[in-house]
Amino acid sequence: MDTNQYMGMFLEESREHLQTLNSCVLDLENDPENLSVLSEIFRSAHTIKGMSATMGFTNIAELTHEMENILDLLRKGQLKASHDIIDTIFRCVDTLEQLVESVASNNESSIDSKPLIIKLKALAKGEAVASTSVQAEVSNIAPVASSSIELSDTEIAVIKKARDQGMQAYEVQVSLREGCLLKSARSYMVMNALDEIGEVIKSIPAVEELERENFSLSFQVIVISGSEAEKIQHTVLSISEIDQAVVLPCVLPNDAKGEISVPKSLEPMIKKDDEAEKAGTAVVHTQTAVEKKNKSGQSVRVDIDKLDTLLNLVGELVINKTRLEQIGLTHKLTDLVETIEQMDRVTTDLQAVVMKVRMVPVGQVFNRFPRMVRDLSRDLNKEINLIIQGEETELDRTVIDEIGDPLVHLLRNSIDHGIEHPNEREEKGKNPIGEIRLIARHEGNNVIIMVEDDGKGINADIIKRKAVEKGLISQGEADVMDANEAVRLVFLPGFSTAAVVTDVSGRGVGMDAVKNKIESLGGMVDVETKVNEGSKFKIRLPLTLAIIQALLVKVSEEIYAIPLGSIDSTINIIPSDIKTVQNKEVILLRGQIIPIVRLADVLNIPDSGKQHMEEELFVVIVHIGEQRAGIIVDNLIGQQEIVIKSLGKLLAGIKIIAGATILGNGQVALILDIGSLIQ
């Protein structure tokens, strides 16, 4: 089978299921008795197993298979979800992640899952005593499942082999509707449908008999498939005039001897009522799971590249519309102008919709944090409760992709430096369990993400002292600095307060990297803190990176765009306003000394031959953080909404250019990266 075309889907879905596994196992750790969580874990593991087996990734299938065995024992209550087991399951998930990624990067994987498999087997055997009750349970199901079909030795061998490959044999009992006219045709369609999702190895009556309509209204089929029972059932039921389709796992004669190979996905179907009774609280969880499913049913997975193309095309449409507008105006064609006004509205809407389509909930980034917080807090012997709010807040895909690392930094900082050890917390009269809040919400045209902890906070005096020690500020500066300003010193490059550099953080690269990243995304980061009460890091991000407001400026014959977000003001000066301080050109603006940058020089713009000396000069005052500079340009063209385009791989790495945009006349203009321009 050519599986390449399914590769993308396989990777995408595997990653999704691994994410589910991660978060569900976390839930399980907190609530080991929760059966619905276990079932959810089960379903995900099983799907991964099935998919990987179909795709021929036996190592993934094998590992998930062993994992399922453990999960099954857990669900049957024969194993307790001990720390050891949870840890092992986490390790499995990690290994699976690596395996999936190695598939994605097309590397022959050198990842060895053997030790884990052995460990899993050992864990399963640890409860071998319980196997009698396993048998009991299996035989409970057996009467339903071990139907009338008798299997020959060859068929048993085929089924066994399929199981080794992570597939399952199912017995499908199909009943046709009464009064069905074309029985043979319907049975043929059933066989065909089953053949598509698996391999039919036997039918009763035999296929020839079915074709001759030599049966009453029902027949049975044994099919080997990597799909789940529900899927098979669904497939059969989608054929018309089918009254009923019962899908049962095919039980081999020696199955009852203790080996559990009942398809896991099927169990929830059989045991649903039972489950709800057992755990009253579980019902709530099941409901949320159901809600989630419904939601995904209404959405379509689209490659981000396709959306980019769509956005490009819409952009192109807008540009052409502008040209038509110009034609209408120059030739005074009122009819055309009116029509274009209509078109204008449509294109504006279209652009808005396309932008909206690119929005992704921040939950996609957030959902990997619970696991990280858990691992870290255990490593550091701290108890931490992570509270996530507003995960449904949407941000542009491009921002989402970039925001993960800074958030990891902030969270690590909070866990490592913020939250104290439990006994220290108790001494301070705090709840021994620390709390970290990760909150996202909309605020105007921005999205705010906050990382809040109730740890020891940041002591402004210590920060000042450290900063002076490291020579980042002078003692004089430190003395006049208020607490808020002092705390912001943590964003300076090379600043770290941790006495000991741990594995987690404290190397002094963290916070300024966070700040740089956020600012490169057009956002801002700020910190508020109170000693012994905790700190709050607040990140403000634009909704999208794709469209920004910019000021277009002209230097010589070239047009450049300066992002409006970093512009303070524009002023006119005369050449004599420019003073030199230590060989650097500066101007004085409202008592502040501002260094100036001549764009023509920095960008090596060929001189147009004009003399600027006597003329008025246009200066754009820009800022990055606290740093200010004046950029001298020849002319200001005006403010405009621009669509940011990348310069591509070949030209990546030019520091002072942040990207390009296409102007109304179809010309390309470059966007300046103010940050690197004024440094």
Binding site: V602, L647, L651, I662, V668
Partner: protein
């Protein structure tokens, strides 16, 4: 990509002029051929990178092929074209003096580039095609565009 077309016995080439010599690239690598348009200069790039153009909404870098191959410069004329090629998922425009034709040439008639030791660095060439009395120099676009190697930013 070029290798692939070598497998069959015939290769289709887009032939263009640089100065007086005839050069060619595999038609499989050519996306389109455009008249010269506004090129926006990009500062701090190697001199052979002419700038960027707008190709239906995407921004593409354009290479001055003659500068890249160290050939004598010439002014733009009516015949000057930009050939848009795609190498390793990277689309790039190349300025050429004129595009003459598309021709099919038998694999057997392509010699290794060592035969001609000329002004162009050998690594930029992938072969020399002989057709009647003409010599077509096949370009090694991967090398010329420099995919994979860091573009030197001044």
């Amino acid at each position: 990509m070029l290798e692939k077309s070598y497998a069959s016995s015939e290769v289709q080439l887009v032939v263009f002029r640089l100065g007086k010599e005839e050069y060619s690239v595999s038609i499989l690598q050519v996306q389109e051929i455009k008249r010269i348009t506004d090129i926006t200069r990009v500062p701090h790039t190697p001199d052979y990178i002419k700038g960027v153009i707008n190709l239906r909404g995407s921004v593409l870098p354009v290479i001055d092929l003659k500068k890249r191959l160290n050939l004598p410069q010439q002014v733009l004329t009516e015949d000057t074209r930009i050939i848009i090629v795609k190498v390793d998922e990277l689309s790039v425009g190349m300025i050429v003096d004129a595009v003459s034709e598309v021709m099919t040439i038998d694999q057997e008639n392509i010699d290794s580039p060592d035969v001609v030791a000329g002004s162009v660095a050998a690594s930029y060439l992938s072969g020399v095609g002989k057709l009647d009395n003409r010599l077509l120099i096949l370009l090694n676009l991967e090398e010329i565009i420099g995919v994979g190697q860091e573009t030197k930013i001044v």
